[in-house]
Amino acid sequence: MAQLTMAKAINEGLRRAMADDPKVLVMGEDIGKLGGVFRITDGLLDEFGAQRVVDTPLAEAGIMGTAVGLAFRGYRPVVEIQFDGFVYPAFDQIVCQVAKLHYRTRGNVTMPITIRIPWAGGVGAAEHHSESPEAYFVHTSGLRVIAVSNPQDAYVMLRQAIASNDPVVYFEPKRLYHSKGEVDLDVPLADAPPMGLARIAREGSDVTLLTYGSQVATAMDAATAAEDDGVSIEVIDLRSISPVDYRTVTASVRKTGRVVVTHEAAREAGVGAELIASVTERCFNYLEAAPQRVTGHDIPYPPAKLEKHHLPDLDRILDAVDRVMDRPNSLSGVLD
């Protein structure tokens, strides 16, 4: 086992996927000589050449649309979108073409495209560099949506995404690129948990805290803090937000009877809304309290100096835990 940063784990995932399958190629802006603005593709150009590590013109629809054509031809493109906020020009190609071609052709054409997106905030970036657009993609049938939270998952799930015959939108929390963890690079993919499986990051008995990606670390901190308060939180790292592993989720909720969801993305019609609706449908009779959401505000992503007021932090999560535990909280007497 190696101690690797998430950035290095993803880099290694790409390298091995390319070495294993000559049909895998990576494409995007600045991914060649520069190795990507986050250096995720570092060294790949030297190793695999310009036919497989493609520095593209600066046009996201162009990158995504040509990836569709390459997939038509039997290739497995791994597309890097430079930053979350730049995926929108490619949105039409993703939702109208990438997501639908398999359905449209009754399974004759597959779109094994992996769309890597350095994602979400907390790094003091400029405008358009900290967005959480995952709900747009979760809402689109035909796509799988992954959000990783640690180097081991990042490595394994990237390889699974590339191996999948379905298109996968793969969110990489840029705030975690430099966080380190144990990575078993030689884990046989067949033995790894399937890509859609949730992970119980911490066991607990009073509250189920559902989250993914960049918020997992914050959720873990909240669980540790809550313990001092005598509340036992079970943290579930969803890993896949389409599809969601409801088996793991409902088993936890039936045990705890209380649900808090946290994510960075804005609240309205977000992933949290979907999770709570689905959990309520499945576990209504087990619930001891109304499920609660802790999310970004319903605002454009704020300037960096203010982002800490937007991102759910440990205290806001604990406040929601107080709500589901029916303890005094910020909403006591405010909302009825």
């Binding site: 046009a59 020009p89 039409d92 109208c96 398999h102 449209r104 599809p243 969601v244």
Partner: protein, 376 residues
């Protein structure tokens, strides 16, 4: 390539329909064109008759499509009358292993690639998004998002480059599509990578109700050189010119010289679709002017002048057209709609727990309508 330091467009506006390369005058007289002539040296009477037959059959499919829509058998039909020479001329120049990416109006491309009667109508009837397997006829599902397929063609061509074969991919799109970012990005990518792709822009003068002058102040073919792509503006009602231009473009790509661009200047005689009312935006005179440039009568005139248009040939083509029309009608009338649960098929290539749950639920729901077992 030459370039002056002051770039001033000097050509006539995009609307000059006679500033085109052609081999047949609107009267069907064979004229010389130094660029195009060399590409049709081998074209004999048999090939010309074949092109004529294709155009007549395509027009019959189109007529049948309109009729079926009017009779309520199809939800919609996008007529291509007037564009037969562009579609047949370019598509017939392709090799079977080349790959075409057509738009919704390119019925003739699907026909020329080997589409079956059901393939022309069942998507418009709403039975399928695509009746054919794209790999069976090396033709992508007809595209409805304007311009999206131009990028797919370029990506496919990039794959061809990596595979080291001499196949070519073709992107078909309209004059309206030339305004789309995707088409312009496609030209950037194609030129940057030298991809073996041919862009065929069918300038039929109208994008629904918007005239080409809303899309372009300069001939559309004139844009390609700005991307570093050689281009040609041909008479889209001259099947020989379309065929020759396509051969030029394909040869360019096969020899590793990268993309080429063809603007075929033609006219959509009918409405945009059967839901459209073109009398609201274009005048009769314009339509009549183009009727006199009809691509089929033009080739007929040439064949007549050469004594190749005998009665037996005409009768044989008529018979084939009738038979095809019957087959198209039958495909529409005998279509069976898939069982309900199949709406959930093929969303994903691999198992997806969310959809599996919905399938289980919807299946159980549907089962609730099954007739009760006997004796219960």
């Amino acid at each position: 390539m030459t370039m002056t330091h002051t770039l001033t467009p000097t050509a006539d506006l995009a609307t000059d329909i006679d500033d085109v390369a052609r081999l047949l005058t609107p009267d069907g007289e064979r004229i010389a064109d130094p660029e195009l002539d060399r590409w049709i040296g081998d074209i004999d009477a048999g090939t010309l008759r074949g092109l004529y037959r294709d155009m007549v059959l395509l027009r019959r499919i189109d007529t049948e499509g309109v009729a079926l829509q009017r009779q309520g058998q199809l939800a919609l039909w996008p007529p291509c009358q007037g564009q037969e020479a562009t579609q047949i001329g370019t598509a017939r120049a392709l090799r079977a292993d080349d790959f075409a990416f057509p738009s919704y109006r390119e019925t003739g491309v699907v026909y020329a690639r080997g589409g079956k009667p059901a393939d022309f109508v069942l998507a418009w009837r709403g039975e399928e998004h695509s009746t054919y397997n794209p790999y069976d006829i090396n033709t992508a599902t007809q595209q409805i998002i304007i311009g999206a397929q131009a990028l797919h063609a370029v990506g496919y061509a990039m794959g061809v480059q990596r595979d080291g074969t001499d196949q070519v991919s073709v992107a078909y799109f309209g004059d309206g599509a030339s305004s789309q970012g995707d088409v312009n990005e496609a030209m950037v990518f194609a030129a940057s990578f030298g991809a073996p792709v041919v862009f065929v822009c069918t300038n039929n003068q109208w994008a629904i109700s918007e005239p080409v002058s809303v899309q372009a102040k300069f001939p559309i073919a004139g844009r390609a050189p700005g991307f570093g792509i050689p281009s040609m503006r041909v008479d889209g009602n001259d099947v020989l010119a379309c065929f020759a231009a396509m051969r030029w473009a394909l040869d360019n790509a096969r020899r590793g010289n990268g993309p080429a661009f063809i603007e075929a200047v033609t006219y959509r005689m009918g409405p945009h679709t059967t839901s459209d009312d073109p009398t609201r935006y274009r005048d009769k005179d314009e339509v009549e002017k183009w009727r006199r440039r009809d691509p089929i009568t033009r080739l007929e005139a040439l064949l007549r002048a050469r004594g190749e248009f005998d009665e037996a040939f005409v009768a044989a083509v008529e018979t084939d057209a009738d038979a095809l029309a019957v087959a198209v009608r039958e495909a529409a009338m005998t279509a069976t709609t898939r069982p309900p649960l199949t709406v959930l098929d093929n969303v994903y290539a691999e198992p997806h727990s969310g959809l599996e749950e919905q399938r289980a639920w919807f299946g159980a729901y549907l089962d609730g309508f099954a007739p009760a077992a006997e004796g219960v």
